[in-house]
């Protein structure tokens, strides 16, 4: 008999926001994010019998969502090739938090895919670099390097606002 968590419905109920948000932050496109998120859950449905625990399901969903979203973002969007393409935040003094949040979302969306995925998994999912390394199949040193560089870019682009 299947445990109560090992149903598609239960896993959808618990994790749809997570999967959708990962896809949204990395692609920057709601329709594409929804499509990718659906594919992730349908893939999970096919492999449901091999999921061993709730933690395993969570790890699997994050991993597959991140990889598929990065692939989708590369296929569809014209992503900035270098960080120099990321636009500066206009120096408007004290910006309201929602506007800053919106602008940060935009700046994160304009980062290179791997760097963006690292930032999202760190600050949306609260994963530590070692967990991000396992999720993205990336060396821990590379994760930390992407994290550091990404924060430097975002800090530079927003420092006029945050002071």
């Amino acid at each position: 008999m299947n445990p109560s968590w090992r149903t598609l419905e239960a896993l959808l109920d618990k994790h749809q926001a997570m999967v959708f948000s990962i896809a949204l932050r990395i692609t920057g496109n709601r329709e594409l994010a929804e499509e990718v998120a659906q594919d992730v859950f349908l893939e999970l449905h096919r492999r449901l019998e091999s999921v061993q625990s709730e933690e395993h399901a969570l790890f699997w969903l994050r991993k597959v969502a991140a990889h598929r979203t990065i692939d989708a973002a590369r296929r569809t969007a014209r992503m900035p090739e270098t960080v120099a393409d990321v636009a500066d935040l206009p120096g408007e003094g004290n910006q309201a938090d929602p506007l800053l949040a919106q602008r940060l979302q935009q700046l994160v969306a304009e980062l290179p895919e791997k760097m963006k995925a690292v930032i999202v998994l760190r600050y949306q999912e609260d994963l530590m670099p070692e967990e991000i390394s396992q999720t993205l199949s990336m060396p821990v040193a590379t994760v930390k390097s992407n994290l550091q560089r990404g924060l430097e870019i975002l800090r530079r682009k927003t420092e006029r606002v945050l002071r």
Partner: protein, 122 residues
């Protein structure tokens, strides 16, 4: 955690999935889970026993026989015609030969008669 990291945690909070997202996934998953019913084919009948095929084969045979018969009749006609032609030619050759023979005989007699009249005593 510095200010940029705090701002990022706020900016990157999870967003809810679109309305109806779960229902759509469940619907697609149930469609994929439906058993595939193999198509039902009628029992295999040898082609020569199929009704329309038998009549078609019979029709082809009849037409073939008719065409063959007509061709044979025409061939026989040609042969008979050729034979008649040969007979006529033979008859003409025979007639021609005879005529020449008769002509030679007539000429010879005339020559002989002339010779006899010239040889009579004075």
């Amino acid at each position: 955690m510095d200010e940029i990291e705090k701002a990022l945690k706020t900016a990157l909070q999870r967003e809810p999935a679109p309305s109806g997202f779960a229902d759509q996934v469940l619907r697609k998953a149930s469609m994929r889970s439906m058993p595939v019913v193999p198509p039902v084919f009628p029992p295999l009948v040898p082609w020569w026993r199929m009704f329309p095929v038998r009549w078609a084969v019979a029709g082809v045979v009849v037409v073939a026989c008719m065409v063959g018969g007509v061709a044979e009749h025409a061939r026989q006609q040609r042969i008979r015609g050729e034979q008649a032609r040969q007979k006529v030619l033979l008859a003409l050759r025979i007639t021609g030969t005879k005529l020449r023979q008769v002509q030679r005989q007539v000429v010879q007699r005339q020559v002989d008669k002339s010779d006899e009249e010239g040889a009579e005593p004075r």
